[in-house]
């Protein structure tokens, strides 16, 4: 069953994973497609020749219970001793139902996994902020000295806040110096 699932997953991943299509749509498609696929299998498996209900005859031989138009009235009046048995088609249906359930569970788990990967993956802007200030000049040293919430000296807090802002501006200026050195004109050739 997994072998059946994986080619689908690969295709889904290629088509939706690489694109910016809503994940909700992706999961929905995944679920509905597998549901459809398994339902289709059930329908196909159930298209087997109709098994006839059998009634045992007094001499032990089994005869089809379908009414025989050519049968004599005497035959029709024979004592009917029906025996209820589980039909093979019902068993198949049960088995397919299980398959469908397992398939849906796996598809949901995979879809949730994909969703988790997507949601945990940092966006480019976050990546940038994580690696931010990696320029050759800034020599990233955390200069933030924002006052701690437990601080008890508001005058010093104010002072440190002011210096913190000034240091940020200084960092910007140092970056501008580097940009001034690496000024790249438009290609005029």
């Amino acid at each position: 069953m997994l072998a059946r699932l994986f080619p689908f997953l690969a295709i889904e991943w290629r088509l939706f994973g690489s694109c910016d299509i809503s994940l909700f749509y992706f999961i929905l498609t995944l679920l509905t497609r597998y549901k459809f696929w398994f339902t289709l299998n059930i329908v196909m498996d159930n298209q087997e020749p109709v098994l006839q209900q059998q009634t045992p005859t007094p001499n032990g031989a089994s005869v089809a219970s379908t009414p025989d138009l050519n049968a004599s009235p005497a035959q029709n009046q024979a004592p009917i001793q029906t025996q209820t048995t589980t039909l093979p088609s019902q068993e198949v249906k049960k088995g397919n139902g299980k398959k469908l359930l397992v398939g849906l569970v796996i598809a949901t788990i995979v879809a949730l996994g994909v969703f988790a990967i997507f949601s945990l993956r940092p966006t480019p802007s976050i990546k940038k902020s994580v690696n931010g200030g990696k320029s050759n000049s800034s020599q990233t040293v955390n200069t933030s000295i924002a006052p701690s919430p437990t601080s008890t000296d508001p005058q010093l807090d104010q002072e440190t806040q002011k210096i913190d802002n000034s240091m940020k501006n200084l960092d910007k200026d140092v970056k501008s110096v580097d940009q001034g050195f690496n000024d790249t004109p438009v290609n005029l050739n």
Partner: protein
């Protein structure tokens, strides 16, 4: 029969989603029809060159205008120095604008090419002024932050002195404060050096003076690191002072709990 039906269904399902992707790929891969007309291509070339030259000139004029704003905000330049800078930048802007007009009217491709090349080759003022003013502005900011930190350091000293008067051992805090003050002083020196080194540079010496710019840049970076260290010293002093306060509070509360209960 069952297998055939499911196969067809599967294929149709796949193609229903894949087809648009292929269509998109084909759309991207479609190449524009080549025009063989040589006069048209020459015209296009002139147009393209004109467009690029104008873009570059506009970019330069925009940046030079930003430099004027920066120069006017620098505190460590005299008004005369600022005026001189602004006048030079204005002259550069005017000549770039007249070059832009000439490029627009150029019909000879060779003349046009020479004019376009001159945007980069003949306008050294721009090449010199961008790093020069950026360095001056950064050095000015460095000195300003150093001034702010001097005031911060003075406040820290007052608090250390208070703690000392109260009988606390503040020798480690005093050492930190001395280091902080030394770093601040060094940052101020670095800022002053950077400005002093780049101020006399002229466009005629360009690009021979690039090494001086590089050293000025390193000076600013060193000054910035000085300030970072000074900030860290300041943080340690504040932590030390806070710890001292907490200890005091702790000892006072201990005294309260140790007080003997009145005997009945």
């Amino acid at each position: 029969m069952k297998k055939v039906f499911s196969f067809i269904l599967l294929v149709s399902l796949l193609f229903s989603t894949i087809t648009p992707v292929y269509a998109m790929e084909n759309g991207v891969m479609q190449k524009p029809v080549m025009v063989n007309d040589s006069s048209k291509s020459a015209e296009n070339k002139v147009e393209r060159l004109n467009d690029r030259a104008n873009k570059e000139i506009n970019r330069r004029v925009e940046l030079l205008n930003k430099l004027i704003t920066k120069i006017n905000s620098v505190k460590r330049l005299t008004p005369a120095q600022k005026l001189s800078f602004v006048a030079e930048i204005q002259t550069e802007i005017s000549s770039l604008q007249s070059l832009s007009g000439k490029i627009k009217s150029d019909t000879d491709p060779l003349v046009l090419k020479a004019d376009v090349q001159s945007v980069i080759k003949s306008y050294k003022v721009y090449l010199l002024f961008v790093p020069k003013i950026e360095i001056i502005a950064a050095a000015d900011r460095l000195a300003n932050v150093a001034d702010e930190m001097s005031s911060y350091s003075a406040k820290l000293k007052t608090r250390i002195d208070v703690a000392k008067t109260a009988g606390t051992d503040v020798s480690s805090l005093e050492t930190l404060l001395a280091d902080m003050n030394a770093k601040i002083a060094d940052a101020k020196t670095q800022a002053s050096n950077a400005i002093g080194v780049v101020l006399p540079l002229t466009p005629d010496e360009y690009p021979g003076n690039v090494a001086i710019f590089q050293s000025a840049r390193k000076t600013i970076q060193a000054g910035r690191l000085d300030l970072v260290t000074a900030l860290q010293d300041g943080q340690k002093i504040r932590k030390g002072l806070k710890g001292e306060k907490m200890e005091k509070m702790g000892s006072e509360s201990a005294k309260v709990t140790k007080e003997p209960e009145p005997t009945q």
